[in-house]
C-alpha cells in the first residue's frame, strides 16, 4: 500500500455550476478525508454527476474553490473502455513505469479477471467490463477514487458481487472515495459517511457508524436507511 498524504484529499467550498439559467450546483461545500469513503446520494438530475466531473477536472466552466490532493482515478457509470485496445492495454492506459505489465496483471487479478489480458472489451459482459474499469482505476493506486454510479447498470446479482469487491479493495488499498449512487442500501453498505444533494446544495451529512462487514439486516441499518430516504423525499410505506 502506498503512503497516503495526511489530511483531506478533497476540499471544496462554494462550488457552483449553471447550465444556462438553471444553477445545478448552488454552493456545494465538501471535504473528504484521507482514506474516507463518502457516498453522494441525490435524486435523478440533482447534480451528482456534475459535481463528480468538476472534482475530476472535466468541467472548466464551474466556479468556486476546490482542491484534490494526491492522485485521482475515475470509474464512470459506463465502463468507457477503448474498444480498440485489449483489456490489458485499457488498464495500462497512461501508466508509466518498468513493471506496468505486472501491475496490470495484478489489478486484473484483484477484480477477478486474471488471464483475460488479451480479451477485447467487446468480448466481455457488462459486469466484466465494469470490473476492467475498476482495475484501470486501481492500477494507478489513487489517493482518491471517484465513482459515478459504477454498478448502476449491472444486474442485481452482479451488483452485489461488485459491492463486495469494492469493500475488499477498499480495505486493502485504503483509498478515499466519492461514491455517487442513487441506491441507499449501497451507500450504507460501503460508505463511512453519506451526503445528500438536493436543490444544488448538500442538505444532509451523516456518518455511518456501522462495523464492517455490513449487511442490510444489521441493527441500526434500518434507522439510517429511513433517515436517508426521508432526506431524499421518499415517503415511508403506509
Amino acid at each position: 500500500m502506498a503512503t497516503r498524504p495526511a489530511g483531506d484529499v478533497v476540499t471544496a467550498t462554494a462550488v457552483r455550476r449553471a447550465f444556462g439559467e438553471t444553477a445545478v450546483l448552488d454552493g456545494v461545500d465538501l471535504t473528504i478525508g484521507a482514506g474516507e469513503v463518502v457516498a453522494l446520494l441525490g435524486g435523478s438530475g440533482s447534480g451528482k454527476t456534475t459535481l463528480l466531473r468538476i472534482l475530476a477536472g472535466l468541467d472548466p466552466d464551474a466556479t468556486g474553490d476546490w482542491r484534490v490532493r494526491g492522485s485521482l482515478a475515475v470509474v464512470f457509470q459506463e465502463h468507457r473502455l477503448l474498444p480498440w485496445k485489449r483489456v490489458s492495454d485499457n488498464v495500462a492506459l497512461g501508466v508509466a513505469g518498468p513493471d506496468v505489465r505486472r501491475r496490470t496483471a495484478a489489478a486484473l487479478a484483484e477484480v477477478g479477471l486474471a488471464g483475460r489480458e488479451r480479451a477485447w472489451p467487446a468480448e466481455l459482459s457488462g459486469g466484466q467490463s465494469q470490473r476492467v474499469a475498476v482495475a484501470r482505476a486501481l492500477v494507478r493506486e489513487p489517493d482518491l477514487l471517484l465513482l459515478d454510479e459504477p454498478f448502476g447498470s449491472l444486474d442485481a446479482l452482479t451488483r452485489l458481487r461488485m459491492q463486495a469487491l469494492f469493500g475488499r479493495l477498499r480495505a486493502e488499498h485504503g483509498f478515499a472515495a466519492l461514491l455517487v449512487t442513487h441506491d441507499v442500501e449501497e451507500a450504507l453498505l460501503l460508505a463511512d459517511r453519506t451526503l445528500v444533494l438536493d436543490g444544488g446544495r448538500i442538505v444532509d451529512d451523516a456518518p455511518v457508524p456501522l462495523a464492517h462487514p455490513r449487511a442490510p439486516d444489521d441493527p441500526g441499518f434500518g434507522t439510517l436507511r429511513r433517515h436517508l430516504l426521508d432526506r431524499l423525499g421518499v415517503p415511508a410505506a403506509a
Partner: protein, 276 residues
C-alpha cells in the same frame, strides 16, 4: 462512436456464421450462371457474325490480344505509367486530405477556416474541371496527377473529418482522467477511433483515383492504359479497347481487395465485436 457502450449482442448472432458457408457456396454457383451464359452468348454471336468484329471482338479474341500485349511487354510499360500516375495522385490527394482533415477535425479554428471552403468545393464535380485544369497545368502529366489528387482528396477528407467528429467524447474524457495529454489522446483514442472511417475513405478514394485516371488518360497522352485504348479506338481494335477496360476493372478489384485485407488486419478489434 457508440461501440464503447454497445451491449453484447444476443447470443443468437453467434449461430449465424456456422450456417453461412453452405448457403454462400450454393449462391455463388447460382450467381455465376448468368455471367457465364452471357459470355457464351457473346462468343457465339461474334462467331456467327451477329456481332461485327469492328463493334465488339469475341471474348476469345480479347483473351488472345491480352496475352500478346502482356507477352511483348506493351501492357507492362503502359500499366507502369498508369500506376505511377495513380500512385502520385493518391499520395498527394491523401496527404492533403490527412493534413486538412485532421486540422478541421481536431481544432475548432481549423474547422471554421478549412471546412466551409472544402464543403463548397465538394459540389463541383471534379471531372468537369478538366477544361480549366488544362488551362492551368497543361495537358501533360500534371493534368493526370491533379485529376487523381482531386478525386482522392474529397472522400478521404470527408471520411477522416467525420471519423474524428464521431468519436465518443466520453472515451476522450476517460483518457484524460487516465492522465493522457493531447498528443497521447490523439494517438490512443482519436486515431484508432477514426481508423474505420479512414479506411472507408481510402477505399472510396482509390475508386475515385481509377475513375479520374481513366478520364485523365483520354486527354493527350503518349502512354498508359488509357492511351492504349484511345490509340486502338482509332484503328477500331475493339479487342485492345476491351483489354484496357478489363485491366482498369482488375486494378479496381485488386486495390479494393488489398485495402480490405489491410483493413481486416488493422481493425481486429471490430471482428471481436462481430463474433461475440
Amino acid at each position: 462512436m457508440t461501440t464503447a457502450v454497445t451491449p453484447r449482442p444476443p447470443a443468437t448472432t453467434r449461430k449465424a456464421p456456422a450456417r453461412a458457408p453452405r448457403t454462400a457456396r450454393r449462391w455463388r454457383w447460382q450467381r455465376a450462371a448468368t455471367p457465364v451464359a452471357l459470355v457464351a452468348l457473346w462468343e457465339i454471336s461474334s462467331r456467327t457474325g451477329v456481332l461485327p468484329e469492328e463493334k465488339l471482338s469475341p471474348p476469345s479474341q480479347v483473351l488472345r490480344t491480352g496475352w500478346r500485349l502482356a507477352a511483348d511487354g506493351t501492357l507492362a510499360t503502359h500499366l507502369l505509367d498508369s500506376l505511377t500516375r495513380a500512385g502520385a495522385g493518391l499520395a498527394i490527394g491523401a496527404g492533403l486530405a490527412l493534413v486538412l482533415g485532421s486540422v478541421a477535425g481536431l481544432l475548432r479554428i481549423g474547422d471554421d477556416l478549412v471546412d466551409p471552403p472544402v464543403q463548397m468545393a465538394r459540389m463541383l464535380p471534379h471531372l468537369a474541371l478538366v477544361p480549366l485544369l488544362i488551362i492551368w497545368v497543361g495537358i501533360g502529366e500534371e493534368l493526370k496527377i491533379t485529376l487523381v489528387s482531386l478525386g482522392v482528396f474529397f472522400p478521404m477528407y470527408f471520411n477522416l473529418y467525420a471519423g474524428i467528429r464521431d468519436i465518443d467524447e466520453r472515451l476522450v474524457e476517460a483518457a484524460r482522467t487516465c492522465g493522457l495529454g493531447a498528443l497521447a489522446r490523439i494517438r490512443h483514442v482519436i486515431l484508432p477511433g477514426a481508423l474505420p472511417s479512414l479506411f472507408l475513405g481510402l477505399r472510396l478514394a482509390t475508386g475515385a483515383a481509377w475513375l479520374s485516371l481513366v478520364v485523365g488518360e483520354t486527354v493527350a497522352t503518349q502512354s498508359g492504359i488509357g492511351f492504349l485504348m484511345m490509340e486502338a479506338r482509332e484503328f477500331s481494335q475493339t479487342d485492345v479497347v476491351l483489354v484496357g477496360l478489363f485491366v482498369y476493372a482488375l486494378l479496381g478489384l485488386l486495390s479494393d481487395l488489398v485495402l480490405r485485407i489491410a483493413e481486416r488486419r488493422a481493425l481486429t478489434w471490430r471482428r471481436g465485436l462481430r463474433a461475440t
